[in-house]
């Protein structure tokens, strides 16, 4: 008997190991544990994607308003640029949320993902940094010509400052490399637009206000 055992012992062992590996492979392939490694609902990545999509949407809205209010070529062109860039980027951000199967809304206040308490009073409640109020949008809607241009440039400068803060935080803290890279791009292009708008305001005898 013991002689038999010694003979079939290696065969039995190898069969067992092979079976065990097969089961393991099946389990890993079916559960895809690497896939559940996408950013979570309250991660920096998801928070940035949600909040920046809303932030960008307002920049697009403001740009449409100014294009309807003035014939000035340089302001209309800047607005055209912002519309296209930010609308497209907003689409990219929303697509990441779809990819990660995360909701577009959150119970947390905006910017909670930035990891520090937002001063709600100073920032007017649930408003994101640099966002225009409804009253300011109405003002922009009703303004015409140079008045509209100046108001737009001032509102958009504040808007961009807020956007840069958000994008910088995401560039530094996001898990997803592509998202961090997109955020980095936002930081540099919005910074250069801030500089451009400062000079456009100066030409109109105004400042960022």
């Amino acid at each position: 008997m013991s002689g038999d055992l010694r003979r079939w012992w290696p065969a039995a062992l190898s069969t067992f190991v092979a079976l065990w590996l097969a089961v393991l492979t099946l389990v890993v392939v079916r559960t895809e544990p690497w896939r559940s490694e996408h950013p979570g609902k309250e991660s920096v990545d998801a928070g940035f994607a949600r909040d920046m999509a809303v932030h960008h949407q307002q920049a697009v809205e403001m740009s449409f308003l100014v294009r309807d209010s003035t014939g000035d070529e340089s302001v209309r062109r800047l607005a055209y640029d912002i519309i296209n860039t930010q609308a497209n980027q907003r689409g990219m951000l929303l697509a990441r949320l779809d990819e990660w199967k995360l909701p577009k809304t959150s119970r947390e206040p905006p910017m909670a993902w930035m990891g520090h308490e937002m001063d709600h009073a100073a920032h007017g409640g649930f408003r994101m940094p640099g966002m225009a109020t409804d009253a300011q949008l109405d003002e922009l809607r009703e303004a015409e010509g140079k008045e509209a241009e100046v108001l737009y440039l001032q509102l958009m400068s504040a808007h961009h400052h807020g956007g840069v803060d958000m994008a910088k935080a995401a560039a530094e803290q996001a898990e997803d490399r592509e998202l961090a890279s997109l955020a980095e791009g936002m930081v540099s292009s919005q910074r250069s637009e801030i500089t451009l708008m400062a000079s456009m305001l100066k030409k109109r005898g105004a400042n960022a206000g």
Partner: protein
């Protein structure tokens, strides 16, 4: 005397050999039992653990795909743009033919009834419509209004013709609740704001009919 000793020694040797063989066999048997038991334990743990992981992953997927408890759904809703009024089979309407102009739906608060034909277009753009009648308490209306004010792609309006106090509608989905504190309000919003049901993802909630 000598042969007796010889046979005794032989016996003793045989006995010793027998004993060694028995010890050997016993040891082999112990080893075999140990190996088989260990093998079974490892296999069971792997299969069991794998099955647990598998069913947890399945559960998560299913939970994400599951409807909100108590919601009604409609399939194959028409999407045509029409100028005339539409007779919708449910109140508030959740889809079907609608007006070419959407109702503004980005955190928009309506205090007067709005045209369903515009609201339906907003649902097509991925917005969630929260509606109430006078069965809803003032406190609930205030809470829901505040929620809409800080949630993108939602809008709120009175709908006197609806049956329940508070209704949430998305394209093809509708939920009626008694109180604003119902946890399903949040679930519906999380699931359907710019959610998978949106026929026209990316479409605007501004630039339409204002409140």
């Amino acid at each position: 005397m000598g042969s007796k000793n010889k046979s005794k020694t032989a016996d003793a040797r045989r006995a010793r050999i027998e004993e060694m063989r028995r010890a050997d066999a016993a040891r082999d048997r112990r080893h075999r039992i140990f190996a088989i038991t260990a093998g079974l334990v490892i296999l069971t743990a792997t299969v069991g653990g794998g099955w647990l992981l598998f069913s947890a992953a399945e559960e998560e997927e299913q939970a994400k795909a599951a409807p909100v408890r108590g919601e009604k759904t409609w399939d194959e809703l028409d999407r045509d743009h029409v100028e005339e009024d539409v007779d919708y089979p449910m109140t508030p309407a959740v889809g079907g033919k609608h007006n070419p102009v959407w109702a503004n739906c980005d955190s928009e608060v309506y205090t007067k009834e709005l045209k369903e034909e515009n609201a339906v277009h907003s649902l097509e753009h991925g917005a969630v419509w929260i509606s109430y009648n006078d069965k809803a308490s003032a406190g609930d209306v205030k809470a829901l209004t505040q929620r809409v004010e800080r949630t993108t792609y939602t809008f709120i309006s009175p709908v006197s013709g609806q049956s329940g106090p508070i209704t949430l509608s998305a394209w093809g989905h509708q939920l009626t609740v008694e109180k604003a504190s119902d946890a399903r309000v949040g679930e519906f919003i999380d699931k359907y704001v710019q959610g998978e049901q949106t026929p026209e993802p990316g479409a605007a909630c501004t630039g339409g009919v204002p409140a």
